[in-house]
């Protein structure tokens, strides 16, 4: 004998770093349905294209999200470069790749920390964030900014990294990787972590595909979607393959992200080895006229920046389709039939970035 109740979750909730409102339909302790409404962070920044010239809009694009800001800036720049037919120098592509991968490391470590916190594992939270500081130090040393870098521009990048620093970055990765291995061991092999995550929030392969899950959410369910395989920036010249897990539960999504840390380190190593010399930017002349869907792989999944120029300094439209938005339908699927106590873990397991999603 049970009756359905609707329980509001958020907008301000201790496990949620950002405001999101979720209406959970519950039957006793079991979730029947979850519906969310957003808008607490909505600013409407896509409309600012009419106010900012296209080279300036890079700064707005970067501030879509403070976690993967570099990749947002880069994706926007790639879109404009394609519309204008600019040939960006190879070195700039490699630098972009290096910074993107450092962004991924920082974002995944951040998420692993928050995720550990949602399981009640505070020590692991602190540990993950301790490792993250190393990544931020590299970012600061090479771009000047810790979380918002501002180092990408239409036509290339703003700063070069000299050979000595590159060598040092490569050397430092060794110690960093060692620390990560110890931490990864806890995430992947600890009994209490596994008992909290295994079989929770299962998303089947078919559901993941039909709902359009992207990034680690899709890859955790066995769908090998990785926009890096399209070969933007320097990814086309590097050897790597998407990290895929088959189980589709919270553990699988966590394992994808943990293993991606090492894949990112490998990509950085390869890029440092193969980076060519030369210029880092080309001169930009004229205004964009045309449209393009620029795609890239953000830590949370595939990101699409649609840019449409009309031949003036101001774009006609910019649309930012962030991975979190796409991962909301899979989340709704995962919440069906879950236990109330697992809701925080499930919500966090898609790595929601609400700031990005609402823009």
């Amino acid at each position: 004998m049970s009756r359905q109740i609707v329980m509001p979750f958020g907008p301000q909730h201790p496990v949620l770093p950002e405001p999101i409102h979720l209406d959970l339909v519950l039957e006793d302790e079991t979730g029947v349905d979850g519906m969310l409404s957003i808008g607490y962070l909505h600013g409407g920044l896509e409309t600012l294209v009419e106010k900012r010239q296209f080279p300036e809009y890079v700064y707005i694009a970067e501030r879509t999200c403070g976690i993967c800001s570099f990749i947002h800036g880069m994706t926007y720049c790639q879109g404009i470069e394609r519309v204008m037919g600019l040939e960006v120098p190879e070195r700039a592509h490699y630098l972009r790749t290096i910074w993107s991968e450092y962004s991924r490391l920082h974002s995944h470590l951040l998420w692993l920390g928050l995720f550990a916190d949602s399981m009640g594992f505070e020590n692991l939270f602190m540990n993950a964030w301790k490792h993250r500081e190393f990544v931020l130090d590299v970012m600061e040393e090479t771009t000047g900014g810790r979380v918002i870098q501002g180092s990408c521009k239409v036509g290339g990048v703003r700063r070069d990294i000299d050979q000595e620093t590159l060598k040092k970055m490569e050397r430092d990765l060794k110690g960093f990787e060692k620390g990560l291995k110890e931490m990864a061991n806890v995430f992947l092999n600890d009994d209490s972590v596994a008992s909290r995550l295994r079989g929770v929030g299962v998303l089947s392969r078919n559901d993941a595909y039909v709902c359009g899950a992207v990034g680690p959410t899709g890859r955790g369910s066995g769908v090998p979607i990785d926009a890096r395989m399209t070969g933007y920036a320097a990814y086309g010249e590097l050897d790597f393959s998407p990290v895929v897990e088959q189980d589709g539960d919270c553990y699988a999504r966590c394992a994808v992200r943990v293993n991606e840390l090492f894949s990112s380190i490998e990509i950085i190593r390869q890029s440092i080895d193969r980076i060519p010399g030369g210029e880092i930017e080309v001169k930009v002349k004229g205004n964009p006229d045309g449209e393009y869907f620029s795609r890239s792989e953000q830590p949370r999944g595939e990101l699409v920046h649609y840019v449409k120029g009309n031949g003036t300094k101001y774009l006609a439209r910019s649309r930012i389709r962030t991975p979190t938005l796409t991962n909301i339908p899979p989340l709704v699927k995962m919440l069906q039939g879950c236990e109330l106590a697992d809701v925080p873990v499930i919500v966090l397991s898609i790595d929601p970035c609400i700031g990005c999603m609402e823009r």
Binding site: P17, G39, Y40, H42, R63, G66
Partner: protein, 158 residues
């Protein structure tokens, strides 16, 4: 820090921030910066808080939420606006849904500049706000004293 007799707790609210400043506020709590060594704890409950840390500009939707949280925090309280968006609306101030800085809505005691604000400056800002908190506490005590004297003039005369 000798004036700090109590352990101040802070409440962090993300108005419409891009996450950059939020992450830096959180980074303050983690091993490298570790504000907990000053006895500062990030709490989720407004009734436990002394310092209200806001990141991001006010958006029309969370006006009520921010005001509500502000009113729930017991006196004395201080407000710290972290980052340029919380201070003035920053790069987003022209957006139709953004009303500008937090000071459009509630009184702000300390502004922390930066985009994103660095953990060092956030800690500086919070330490600065603790001085103001202490001042407010003393003023509040004095006011209470005066009120007491005012309501029963002369004390035992009656």
């Amino acid at each position: 820090m000798t004036y700090l007799k109590k352990s101040p707790w802070l409440l962090h609210y993300d108005a419409s921030s891009c996450n950059g400043c939020d992450i830096e506020v959180l980074a303050c709590l983690t091993p490298l910066y570790d504000v907990e060594r000053f006895g500062i704890i990030n709490t989720g409950n407004p009734k436990h808080a002394d310092v209200f840390v806001v990141t991001g500009g006010v958006n029309e939707q969370n006006r009520e939420v921010i005001r509500n949280i502000y009113e729930q925090i017991p006196e004395p309280k201080v407000v710290v606006a972290v980052g340029i968006c919380a201070s003035s609306g920053g790069i987003f101030r022209e957006c139709y849904n953004i009303s500008g800085g937090i000071d459009q809505l509630i009184p702000v005691d300390v502004y922390v500049p930066g985009c994103a604000a660095r953990p060092e400056s956030i800690i500086d800002g919070i330490v600065k706000s603790l001085e103001i908190l202490e001042e407010k506490r003393i003023q509040m005590k004095e006011r209470a004293k005066q009120k007491e004297q005012g309501s029963s003039p002369g004390g035992g005369e009656r």
